[in-house]
Symmetry: C2
Subunit: 488 residues, 2 copies
């Protein structure tokens, strides 16, 4: 083995997404840190940094920047990444962001649905309150799916709801599918409700600004691309540095600290999987149990660009409801081309997002959820259009005609073996905190007991901002600071 | 003193509102109770039962029943009075109630304001979340007024809000005045947010149904009207029954238990006040402090009936915003006829409430808050119309003309010396729980220490349902059950 195949560092960071880069940047730049650049190495399995932040700046016919992964500043009142962004010279909040949160215009197969006039919005609020109250008083109340609790509510209050309210409230609740990337028949009712700390702010100029910013603070030599970690050995005796990482390339990295920021989906792979990690010795049972107490969603995007705008350019968002009945459970894998109204559709209108620059045409960004994401991401652009054309036809404004797209972009998150979906998602009976408790290392006797120098970060390793860029960012900062403090 | 001037009972209940009647009914009807009818006496200062439930069934030109006091089933998902009502033969949920909660149509002096198109609804959500987060992390954070925190939010986020959003969000927040009956410059920001357990359901058929129901379970002889309690003496030695109540009429009531359900406003009067209660000996200091840690609001109503409908009959509610600036603080007492847009206006449209019976004309029910309530309740119907005409003119639909009212009803809650306003309200720096802790008797060493047989009930004596009929009802039940249990 040549010297080039062995690397000896103080801190190895596995994964160059926002969590890994923030951890590295913290360790390198924090004034309290004594670590030198050569002592930090970020190992990235893919041939690019950014992880689930990926801005497409080249495909659009309208010079739009499409975020194929994370796109919004969620929790914008408290979002730490947004706060950091506003300090940057090259970030202009007015030009670079847009609150695309006007009440969504809702359509069913039968046409527009007026949620205000029918008071479906009020009934929907009651449904959410019903869910909260159902699980509120007793932590032991058994979980059920979002679909089941919705039916339970509608059943209990049938007498006081109009047919219209019953019908559309049931379909409307599926909007959560576009949050979690999984379908309502498996979404946990117990944990479906969210407490947003402020409006959602769309990052028009591309989320990779934060990746670029972090990367600019890290020397190029400290980031190793195409470096897939296959083994994390905490029992090695070959070197005084306590931890050995073996890469698929054969490179060995010895270090005293490792911050593991791979997606939850990678942690959950069996070690026999070519993309999984082998732990030497095996992970403790508490850790393994926590890993099996939560799932991974599949939010994806299909983007169509058209050379004319035949939909309402003043609406931020469109929702096209699924049909009332489907032939099979919504979560069942798709084996043949799906019927158009079998799934919930959520659309962001880039004609409205980019009001400053109204062109002849524009784009519609559609969010997809499992199992539709897997299907569309593994099929052709033509299949995507074939599926969406009858849905998007509902959006055509009087006097206009739907046109075929001049450009189609489909994400590949479910097909990317290093990502395998979108982010943590709670199925019925899942547990939102077990894994975070194990990974955050904030409580004694959690994580890899006896090996506190093996740290974890990422959207799945933190409660505040879970599933979000700012959560991943904070978790990276947390671990960077932990390492600094431990070394001092 | 004749025998007729002395009454000896087991339980005296002071006040025949919903709390007092529910306490009496519980003591009389609960299967565990051994108390006989002659051993219970309800003492009511006014010449009618019902307290702040008062249904006007005679004044309307359209045979509407107007609730001059409590009118809605709040928290309708969990409301115990609503649950009881649905069991009654003479209560028909479909006919007797109406969800008058369609998104309110909002007007300013300049005309209609579209909260959706301008996304003011989203900014408003952010303001509420800002308030929550501001006080959330630290119970010690100093309180401020609703007006102050609104200005603080707008100041902090000025750069990202449109002029329209800033202007109208600030005016919109005053809708809380119609909840609490006090003005935004004195409303506690710390405790302004509410957690509603379900939609608000208007009681079309009149809230006195619950008074009638409770009263039907209580013998007439057990209720004494025009019986104002002036002294509550817990140190009397003249009789084996430990508590002596002296009435303004000279009647003396000896009892072993007393449930005090007078309004908080009466408890807060100095004993020198002709409508106050003298406690012998004086109330303990903890109790007196608690009484001064909370205020009493002044929600009132002005009802106009018109012989034509010149407003939109399909809207449930109208809001007419105040003007941006006023000459004096909103809470300052009104000394001369007010300018029309000096105060926030909230209107319930009875043309929409009574859709089942569209007549040539209909009514508008306007909620008023302090200090406007005090002004209007002490002035003429003509003054009320003079004040509201320019406000209601905003509601005129194209092709119609405003007409003068054919009928005007104004409440008199602030002028009624036995009521003196509406219900508990939190001024800046008030404390929502001190008084409840003292009155609910659920914690040791609270209330009138050493005299647990002196009980308290009413909307001000309970947390769940505070300020509401169902809260008062539950508190009455709680105290009735306490007495039964203590006697057994």
């Amino acid at each position: 083995m040549s010297n080039a195949d062995i690397k000896i560092v103080e801190v190895a960071i596995v994964g160059a997404g926002v969590a890994g880069l923030k951890a590295a940047q913290t360790i390198l730049c924090d004034s309290r840190s004594k670590v030198k650049a050569k002592d930090v190495l970020v190992l990235e399995a893919q041939n690019r940094v950014g992880g689930r932040i990926l801005t497409d700046r080249t495909s659009s016919k309208f010079a739009y920047n499409y975020d194929l992964g994370a796109a919004w500043f969620h929790d914008s009142l408290t979002n730490v990444v947004l706060k950091e962004a506003t300090k940057l010279d090259n970030f202009n909040r007015e030009q670079d962001t847009y609150y695309d949160d006007k009440d969504a215009k809702v359509y069913s197969q039968d046409g527009p649905v007026d949620l205000v006039e029918t008071k479906i919005n009020r009934v929907y609020d009651d449904l959410e309150k019903f869910i909260e109250l159902y699980f509120y008083n007793d932590i032991e109340v058994e979980d059920m799916s979002l679909k089941e609790i919705t039916n339970k509510y509608l059943d209990e209050y049938r007498n006081i709801l109009t047919d219209e309210q019953q019908k559309y409230c049931r379909l409307l609740v599926r909007h959560y599918e576009s949050w979690y990337g999984i379908s309502w028949d498996i979404i946990s009712a117990k944990y479906v409700l969210m407490d947003h700390h402020g409006r959602d702010l769309l990052n028009k100029n591309g989320y990779d600004f934060i990746i670029d910013k972090l990367k600019s603070d890290i020397p190029n030599e400290s980031i190793l691309l195409n470096a897939q970690v296959k083994v994390i050995d905490r029992s090695n005796k070959a070197h005084s540095r306590k931890i050995l990482l073996e890469l698929s390339s054969g490179i060995k990295v010895y270090c005293n600290y490792v911050v593991v920021t791979v997606p939850q989906s990678i942690l959950q792979l069996p070690q026999s999987d070519p993309y999984g990690i082998t732990w030497e010795p095996a992970l403790p049972s508490n850790f393994q149990e926590a890993l099996s107490s939560i799932h991974f969603g599949s939010l994806g995007k299909v983007i169509f660009e058209f050379d004319s705008i035949w939909w309402d350019k003043n609406e931020d968002r469109f929702t096209v409801l699924a049909s009332e009945t489907q032939d099979k459970p919504a979560s069942e894998p798709i084996t043949s081309h799906p019927k158009p109204f079998d799934y919930h559709t959520f659309i962001v209108n880039f004609a409205s997002v980019h009001k400053e620059n109204i062109l002849r045409g524009s784009g519609l960004v559609i969010l997809t959820q499992s199992p539709l994401t897997e299907y569309l991401e593994s099929h052709s652009k033509e299949d995507a259009w074939r599926y969406y054309k009858p849905i998007l036809e509902k959006l055509v404004v009087p006097g206009s005609t739907i046109s075929n797209p001049i450009n189609t972009i489909i994400t590949d998150w479910t097909q990317n073996p290093y990502i395998r979906g979108s982010y943590a998602a709670l199925h019925t009976h899942d547990d939102p905190s077990s894994l975070v408790i194990q990974l955050s290392g904030e409580i004694d006797n959690t994580g890899i007991v006896g090996h506190p120098n093996i740290r974890f970060a990422g959207e799945h390793a933190i409660s505040d901002g879970a599933g979000c860029v700012h959560g991943a960012y904070s978790s990276g900062q947390r671990e960077g600071e932990w390492v600094i403090q431990d070394m001092n």
